[in-house]
């Protein structure tokens, strides 16, 4: 075995040595450069048409072992062309080619097994006419002008092309394109056959510069550093298939105001293409991109990654993306779908889906360029944003594809300087459907929720339609607001503070234009809000409630009237307090208020308003006025008048239990009150009171009025009254003041005419009383409707009574008992009392006093404060004279003689005078006449009687008794004229007459007309009561009661007496 091996090895070595020797002989002695170089140079023009310079050609074996190769130490191709920057097309210092000589010779196949080009340069040039300096290969004109015919060789098979340090320059003036590659080193392999071209390029890192100038002189400049790539592909029957892998360090691209920088790009492209279709996938490993436009940096070292698979239909200009995902700074977008450019209709047909998940909002906002970041000034937002959706349809000048998107936000936060309430826990689920048209475009808010640090929250859902015209919103919102959180929203200048919470649900439906135009009448708002522990202050106003709910609807769908369709509100409050410092305060307990209304903003039309209320308690106060109502309930209706729609009519119904009103030191209470009223308004009236004319009824029980000016309160057990603009019909009004009580029934007329100033306020009532204190009644009515200065006079002088003005009241009285002060009492009072515009008239008032049955017709008029008229027709029947003087003390001054009589008589007087404000009698105005009748009177003053009897020579047995007395007297100013009257005493008759002055001086004549004596004696009594003088005198009336012998004067006197008497008696009212 060893021997065989030894022989074999020796044989191989010998053969190898012989082969080496043979090759060496061929290389060095047969095919030397001197022999090969002329052969190559002579053949070159057959293959290239330009000038060539070929250095020394040598055949190599050992350096290209185990293949033979031709090596040229220099190759230069020169092809000058006008405009070219360089005449040299190609230049290389060394060129080595291993060519299959046998295939080339036998089969005309160019098979380059190995091609090495080192330290060369290529200067390609295309002029503006499309002529190039690299079109140097001759064409066979005998062959048809086909691609195949263009080929010199049947097969070109490049096994290995190795380029080292090659600089390439390409200038295309027809395309304004300039490109340069420096230090290009690459390995190229491939083959070209009639059916197929296949190849691969492995380019080592090199630099590329590209400059492309467009027709508008804009320039695209690109610099690529350390570019390396691998291309492996084939072309067969017009179809290209292959793979491209690119690595590079930097790309700088500048185009106009666009600046782009890419770092560390690694891209792999697999695909195939034919004239109809391109398909493949592209994968970009994360690389850094900086992108600027117009001096603005839109991306700064953004990390971008892309995985895409796509088909391109070239004839349809359609791109179909499959499973494409792009990532920018970690924000991944998955995209799929088709994009077709419809050149016929100049539109883009899109059918695409996308999805991204949990994009941090901060990362999104970080992508916003600085020039747009101002829009986000003061905004600090975060959260996870996700979205998926599809876009289908045609994009053109006239149409927009339909987008159906869903956007999700979770764990969102938002701080906005202009909205001082930070939001957190923001979550949103929104569907957006838009096609640029209405009404299909919409945004459906499946859910939006946000909270605040203090616990406020807002949750809403709904839909927004008509996105591209007038956005229509339909929202369902739940809210829970802690008001202190929102206090910073209110300007400090408004001085508003708010505490408490507002929570509830609001359903809304409105359009954007309705909001901007403030058209609530076209919106739909409804819901329920609950106010808890609310305390709001605005300047000096405050509102508080521990818990209130408000149901509201706009418009009012549950309307009770067709006219109140604008708004509905129902408010229920456990407690509700409102106040204004130093002005008013009000509180409601367990209140329910329901309101319906038409559009109250319409200032042209009177609004329709219906309000009903019910509460356990109402407390209100303003200044010194305080009102407390228990169980008030009712409703208020405001509507245009049917007969005059431009004016309002108001209907009011009120019922309640206890009502108390305090006015300073005055107060009024009612145990139960029921009011139903209608009020018609006519703003055309000048006086505000006249503008409102009421109609309705009042039913009140257990009333009580306490006035500081009255010693005793006014109790009103019941009131039932109907009223209309002209009439107040009092069915019954019962009242009690201390010991006084009365019941009124009747009517009040001319009410509106009174307020118009056209008429007196007229009233006629039945006044029934068990007990009446007249002074109290006068106190109640004193000074009514008088001027302020006159009322001040009343305040200064409590004695004066000013009869009410502006009214004409008649009271048909039926009073069981009455008192005027402590000393004057009366009973059985019947008759009429009338108050007529400052005048008090007692019309035939009949009553009984302890002294007598009386009848009085009186007049008390107050034309001005210091000129008061008092007139009196007084009739006393069966009066005790002593009590008469006590009842009417002024009679003692007028007829002092009366004090001398005792016993009963009848007395009639008609007296009138003016008094001043202190009730001092104006003596010059006194007018009075009186008549007195009496029988069996006793002369009380025995001394006077004795003096008179002595002078008249009465018998000593004559007693001081007057059998009968009948006298008349008049008063004019201070003169009291006592008309001659007859006194019958025992056997004597005497006529007394004279004058009595109110200064108490007098001058009487007493004439005896009948006595036992034959003489007609007379006596004159003059002086004053303190100093009387009794002098015998002439009998003035000797024939006074002797008609036959009566003188003219005496007759006149009697006629006057008769006239006076008749006048007085004519004022007596019969049948009372």
């Amino acid at each position: 075995m060893k021997k065989f091996l030894k022989i074999f090895l020796l044989s191989v070595a010998s053969l190898t040595l012989m082969a080496v020797i043979a090759i060496a002989v061929v290389l060095w002695y047969v095919l030397t450069p001197e022999k090969l170089t002329p052969i190559v140079r002579s053949q070159a023009p057959g293959y290239i048409r330009c000038q060539s310079e070929i250095g020394q050609i040598e055949l190599t074996f050992f350096s290209t072992f185990p293949k033979f190769a031709l090596k040229a130490d220099r190759l230069t191709l020169v092809n000058p062309l006008d405009g070219a920057p360089n005449d040299t097309l190609f230049n290389a210092k060394e060129l080595i080619g291993i060519i299959d000589i046998r295939s080339l010779i036998k089969n005309n196949e160019l098979i380059v097994r190995d091609f090495r080009l080192s330290n060369g340069s290529i200067n390609a040039f295309v002029d503006s006419l499309g002529n190039s300096n690299f079109n140097i290969f001759p064409t066979d004109s005998s062959q048809p002008d086909t691609a195949q015919a263009g080929m010199i060789f049947k097969i070109i098979d490049i096994g290995n092309v190795d380029l080292k340090n090659i600089n390439v320059s390409y200038l295309d003036q027809s395309m304004n394109l300039k490109a340069e590659a420096h230090h290009l080193s690459a390995g190229i392999s491939g083959s070209i056959t009639d059916e197929r071209i296949a190849g691969a390029i492995d380019a080592k890192p090199f630099d590329v510069a590209l400059e492309y100038r467009q027709a508008d002189s804009s320039v695209l400049k690109t610099e690529i550093r350390n570019l390396s790539f691998i291309i492996d592909g084939s072309l067969k029957a017009g179809a290209i298939e292959g793979q491209l892998h690119i690595n590079l360090a930097d790309i700088l691209l500048q185009y106009g105001s666009i600046n782009t920088g890419i770092e560390n790009l690694s891209m792999t492209v697999n695909g195939k293409a034919d004239p109809e279709k391109i398909s493949g996938d592209i994968r970009l490993e994360p690389f850094s991109v900086t992108f600027g436009f117009g001096g603005e940096t839109y991306l700064q070292n953004a990390v971008v990654r892309l995985n895409a698979a796509a088909d391109v239909n070239l004839s349809r200009r359609l791109i179909r993306l499959k499973e494409t995902s792009a990532t920018v700074n970690g924000l991944q977008l998955d995209l799929a779908g088709t994009f077709e450019n419809d050149t016929l209709h100049q539109s883009l047909i899109v059918e695409a889906q996308y999805k991204f998940d949990s994009w941090p909002v901060k990362s999104i906002t970080a992508l916003i360029p600085p020039s747009f970041s101002s829009y986000l000034n003061g905004i600090d937002a975060d959260g996870k944003l996700s979205s998926e959706g599809r876009i289908d349809g045609i994009y053109s000048a006239s149409s927009f594809p339909e987008a159906d998107l869903r956007i999700l936000l979770e764990k969102g936060t938002l701080k906005y300087s202009a909205f001082p309430v930070p939001l957190r826990d923001i979550s949103a689920d929104v569907n957006i459907r838009a096609d640029g048209k209405t009404p299909r475009s919409c945004i459906r808010i499946n859910r939006f929720h946000a909270r605040t640090p203090a616990g406020s929250s807002l949750t809403t859902s709904g839909i927004l339609n008509d996105l591209f015209t007038d956005i229509h919103a339909s929202l369902d919102t739940d809210l829970n607001l802690a008001l202190p959180e929102f206090a910073p929203l209110i300007p400090d200048s408004m001085k508003i503070t708010a505490k408490g919470t507002v929570s509830g649900n609001v359903k809304s439906e409105f359009t954007l234009s309705q909001i901007t135009r403030m058209q609530p009448e076209k919106m739909k708002l409804s819901g329920s809000l609950t106010l808890a522990d609310l305390a709001v202050t605005y300047d000096s106003l405050s509102l508080q409630t521990d818990r209130s709910t408000c149901h509201f609807a706009l418009p009012n769908n549950n309307l009770s009237s067709t006219a109140t369709g604008f708004v509905f509100a129902n408010i229920r409050a456990t407690t509700l307090e409102a106040s204004k410092i130093n002005t008013f305060d009000a509180s409601l307990a367990n209140a329910e208020i329901t309101l319906e209304a038409s559009d109250v903003r319409d200032t042209v039309k009177i609004p329709d308003i219906r309000c009903s209320f019910r509460m356990n308690e109402l407390l209100a106060g303003a200044d010194s006025i305080h009102i407390a109502a228990s169980g008030p309930a009712g409703n208020i209706t405001v509507a245009p008048r049917r007969d005059a729609p431009k004016y309002p009519a108001v209907e009011i119904a009120y019922s309640g239990d206890r009502l108390q009103a305090d006015f300073g030191r005055n107060s009024a209470t009612a145990g139960k009150i029921n009011i139903k009223a209608g009020v018609v308004n006519d703003p055309a009236k000048k006086d505000m009171l006249l503008q409102w004319t009421p109609k309705g009824f009042i039913d009140m029980e257990q009333g009580n009025i306490s006035l500081a000016s009255l010693t005793y309160p006014i109790e009103i057990p019941s009131v039932r009254m109907k009223f209309d603009p002209e009439t107040f019909a009092i069915e019954t009004l019962k009242a009690r003041i201390n010991q006084s009580d009365f019941s009124l029934s009747g009517g009040l007329n001319n009410v509106s005419a009174y307020f118009r100033g056209d008429s007196l306020l007229k009233g006629e009532f039945d006044f029934v009383s068990d007990m009446t204190d007249i002074l109290q009644i006068m106190s109640l009515t004193n000074g009514m409707n008088h001027k302020e200065e006159e009322k001040e006079m009343i305040a200064a002088n409590s004695r004066v009574y000013l009869v009410p003005k502006g009214i004409d009241f008649t009271l048909h009285t039926n009073v069981t008992a009455a008192a005027y002060g402590k000393d004057i009492t009366a009973s059985g009072i019947k008759g009429d009392v009338r108050v007529h515009d400052g005048t008090l008239i007692l019309d035939g008032l009949a009553f009984a006093t302890p002294a007598a049955e009386m009848q009085v017709t009186g007049m008390y008029r107050t034309p001005r404060k210091n000129h008061l008229f008092v007139g009196l027709n007084l009739h006393m029947f069966d009066v005790e004279i002593g009590e008469l003087l006590q009842t009417v003390p002024v009679l003692d001054s007028i007829m002092p003689m009366l004090r001398s009589f005792g016993g009963k008589g009848e007395f009639h007087v008609s007296a009138e005078t003016y008094v001043d404000s202190t009730y001092r009698v104006k003596m010059s105005t006194i007018r009075a006449s009186s008549s007195i009748r009496g029988t069996d009177l006793v002369l009380m003053d025995g001394q006077t009687f004795s003096e008179v009897a002595k002078k008249l020579r009465f018998s000593k047995k004559t007693v001081n008794r007057v059998d009968s007395l009948s006298a008349e007297c008049t008063i004019f100013r201070n003169e009291v004229d006592v008309y001659p009257f007859l006194i019958v005493m025992d056997k004597y008759k005497a006529v007394v007459g004279g004058r009595h002055n109110l200064d108490m001086s007098f001058d009487y004549n007493i004439s005896v007309v009948q006595s036992p004596l034959p003489l007609r004696l007379a006596v004159n009594v003059k002086g004053t009561p303190e100093k009387m003088k009794f002098r015998p005198g002439k009998s003035k009336y000797p024939d006074f009661y002797r008609p036959a012998s009566r003188k003219v004067v005496e007759t006149q006197e009697l006629e006057l007496r008769k006239m006076i008497r008749n006048a007085l008696m004519g004022t007596i009212i019969k049948d009372q």
Partner: protein
């Protein structure tokens, strides 16, 4: 003695008094009454229709608040009927002693009155 003197006096009085009333036959021109007359603060106005009014400024009463009366002049007897608002009247009868265009004097059984014309 006193009784004798008394009877003599009584007998003398009618004789003495019978000679009174000398102005009863005088006649005065009533037109002289027309107009306003004054006595101190007291005023009277006589109108030609036999109405009149009276007031006293001392009592803070002016003419527009004056109280009415009717008057009648017969011979020398001037009768004033002061009208009461309450009904009725107060008759006053005077005997004129002097009536000129500027002076009016009259009297009753107790007092005398004098006025001057103020128109």
């Amino acid at each position: 003695m006193k009784r004798i003197l008394f009877y003599l006096a009584v007998l003398a009085v009618p004789v003495l008094c019978h000679s009174c009333g000398s102005e009863d036959g005088a006649v005065f021109d009533e037109t002289l009454l027309y107009g306003r007359w004054k006595s101190g603060t007291e005023y009277y106005r006589y109108a030609s229709d036999h109405t009149g009014s009276t007031w006293n400024t001392a009592d803070n009463v002016q003419e527009d608040e004056a109280q009415p009366f009717t008057w009648q002049l017969s011979g020398s007897t001037l009768t004033l009927n002061h009208i009461q608002e309450m009904g009725g009247m107060i008759p006053k009868s005077y005997t004129i002693t002097q009536l000129t265009s500027s002076t009016l004097k009259y009297k009753d059984g107790y007092n005398s009155y004098a006025y001057t014309k103020t128109d």
